[in-house]
């Protein structure tokens, strides 16, 4: 039976061309969306590396310092602001950070480990945040090995850094990074790894894996850039109106700065929305296209059935049951779908082969492919339902009576 249907479908290829093209293109569209969705979903399931429950952030806008004196004054003001924030009664812990979790900003650098011998390996892009000692506590970082920053580090001649697992993996492979040096970069102090935390994904639950590193900010060193944000761990149950109190207090300490307060939950919301909205828009367009294709497909199948009424009548006369006719209509369509998606699969498989998909893991790619295939088969099966039902209802006597 299958061979028979295959021969039939092959012989009718000209008539079937339109269906094939439409299925082919819808497969590509569905694949694009499915891949995105699977990617986001896999990301969602990975650990985040921090916790922003009851964490608020204070943004600080300050003029760019004109000279060294101004820079020193800025750091001193910052230290005062930090102390004042700690004194607030509903604030449990405070830290300063250049960039806060869920924010869109980032600073990246190409880093490599300092080799024992020979030249350094090629640099890898790592995201960096400059934070004060309190940061690990405020956002609940998960220390895996080594230690976090401590006040005594202020006396060190070099800058201590903490890597996350992803950064440790890409920079040091299987070796233990604690105690190792990073290759010297021009205009940067010598950096040494003192600890490793679990994977830190600053850009939120939907972002992909990203090597991350923390640099220590000293509140006494004037040569350092002033962190732009405070992260506060609030006492549980603090309501939004407390923000006013925080702002009033901090403005009192630094009246020439502009402060803003936001719960990190809110920042998270914005972050998620920003990532989901483009996908949502694309999915909407894809849904429209699929609806169009589904309509076109159903129409063409229906047209097919009408044109082949005599053939259906003939088969029924020769002993085909209604079910057999249903199966023929659906089966023919499934064959066409298979050829169309086979071609489509061949095409999309080129993407990872030609390395156009960068960091996408093969598991994500295959999952996306499987999802797309399932959807397209489901779609075409649904499109075949009504036409196949109509085909089954063809009365052989009438169908064969035509002149």
């Amino acid at each position: 039976m299958i061979r028979h249907l295959l021969k039939l479908a092959w012989n009718r290829k000209r008539a079937n061309a339109l269906i094939l093209v439409e299925i082919f293109f819808s497969f590509l569209v569905v694949f694009a969306v499915a891949l995105q969705a699977v990617y986001l979903w896999t990301n969602l399931r990975r650990p985040l590396g921090f916790d922003v429950e009851d964490a608020w952030t204070v943004t600080m806008e300050m003029d760019r310092p004109a000279d060294e004196d101004a820079t020193r004054r800025q750091i001193e003001t910052f230290a005062r602001v930090l102390r004042e924030a700690e004194r607030l009664d509903r604030v449990e812990r405070v830290a300063g950070a250049m960039v806060v979790p869920y924010s869109d900003e980032s600073r990246t650098e190409g880093l490599s480990k300092e080799p024992e011998t020979g030249t350094a390996p090629p640099p890898v892009s790592v995201e960096i945040d400059e934070v004060t000692d309190g940061f690990a506590d405020v956002v609940d970082l998960d220390l895996v090995s080594g230690r976090w920053f401590e006040p005594a580090d202020a006396a060190l001649a070099w800058m201590p850094v903490v890597l996350d697992l992803e950064a440790a993996r890409v920079l040091f492979g299987d070796e233990d990074p604690v105690g190792r040096w990073l290759a010297q970069e021009p205009d940067r102090p010598r950096r040494r790894v003192v600890g490793v935390v679990s994977d830190f994904r600053q850009h939120g639950e939907l972002s992909g894996p990203q090597p991350y590193m923390f640099e220590r900010v000293s509140v006494t060193e004037p040569s350092h850039r002033t962190p732009r944000n405070l992260v506060l761990k609030m006492a549980p149950g603090t309501t939004a109106d407390y923000e006013e109190a925080i702002l009033a207090r901090l403005r009192g300490v630094a009246p020439e700065w502009t402060f803003g307060v936001k719960a990190l939950d809110v920042v998270r919301g914005t972050n998620l929305r920003l990532r989901v909205i483009p996908l949502g828009a694309v999915a909407l367009i894809a849904a429209f296209l699929l609806a169009m294709v589904a309509l076109g497909l159903t129409g063409v199948l229906w047209q097919n059935v009408v044109q082949r009424t005599r053939e259906i009548g003939l088969r029924r006369a020769n002993g085909a049951t209604r079910t057999a006719i249903h199966r023929q209509v659906v089966g023919e369509l499934m064959m066409m779908t298979t050829s169309a998606v086979a071609l489509g699969t061949l095409l999309v498989v080129q993407l990872p082969i030609l390395e156009l998909l960068g960091s996408l893991s093969p598991e994500v790619f295959s999952a996306g492919l499987v999802a797309a295939l399932t959807l397209i088969y489901a779609l075409t099966a649904v499109c075949a339902l009504y036409p196949s039902w109509m085909a089954g209802r063809v009365q052989p006597a009438e169908a064969l009576r035509w002149e």
Binding site: M1, R3, H4, K7, L8, N11, R12, R310, E311, G313, L314, R315, R316, A317, N318, G319, A320, T321, R322, T323, A324, Q395, P396, A397, L400, R401, W402, E403
Partner: protein, 220 residues
């Protein structure tokens, strides 16, 4: 083989009721070669449809091979048609997208036969009608007479006991018509019961007996 008892058939459309067959009684023995004649619109095709289980009578009973056909499900009717009946139509009704041998295989698709067995029987049937050299051609590449012979091969490939032919020579010239008639006679001699609708009197004469219909009723 086939028996019709007080069979009537009424067609109803939105506004019109047509009495196609009126109280027909007919009995056809195994091995019979029967011609059904009558003017256009007298119900000949309807009669054939009922005999071929393609339709149900509005009144009366139809029996095939000793078994009364009453309230049969679509599945059972389909199987009966597949096993016991072969159809031959005036317009041939070949599937133009399939080759000759694929067309002939069609009845065997709806049975459990292996690919190889199907192919063997189809080729045998084509050989029987003298078309072994055109096995892989397409219907559009054949003459009218050849197409009808393919249709006959398709009708006999399943080894049916009854052949129902609706004006089988209607679209053919007299020479091709004669060839087709000869094959039908041979098949009848080999044991098939043949019922043929025609309005060619000469052909009717070559059969065992003729049933005449006028306005849905039997006349003599």
């Amino acid at each position: 083989m086939i028996r019709l008892e007080n069979v009537s058939k009424v067609y109803r459309t939105d506004r019109v009721e047509t009495l196609a067959l009126d109280n027909v009684n007919l009995e056809i023995e195994p091995g019979d070669f029967v011609a059904v004649m009558g003017p256009s619109g007298c119900g000949k095709s309807t009669l054939l449809n009922l005999m071929g289980l393609l339709d149900e009578p509005s009144e009366g009973k139809v029996a095939l091979d000793g078994r009364a056909i009453e309230r049969y499900q679509d599945r059972h009717l389909a199987r009966l048609r597949n096993e016991k009946i072969g159809f031959i139509f005036q317009q041939f009704h070949l599937v133009s997208d399939l080759s000759v041998v694929d067309n002939v295989e069609i009845p065997l698709l709806y049975r459990r036969t292996s690919n190889r067995e199907r192919r063997r029987r189809a080729l045998a049937a084509l050989d029987r009608v003298g078309l072994s050299s055109r096995v892989h051609h397409f219907p559009t590449q054949l003459s009218g007479g050849q197409q009808q012979r393919v249709a006959i091969a398709r009708a006999i490939v399943g080894g049916p006991k009854v052949l129902l032919a609706d004006e089988p020579t209607g679209n053919l010239d007299s020479q091709m018509g004669d060839e087709v008639m000869e094959i039908l006679e041979e098949l009848n001699e080999d044991g098939a019961t043949v019922v043929m609708v025609t309005h060619d009197g000469r052909l009717a004469q070559r059969t065992h007996r003729t049933v005449r219909l006028f306005d849905g009723r039997q006349v003599h």
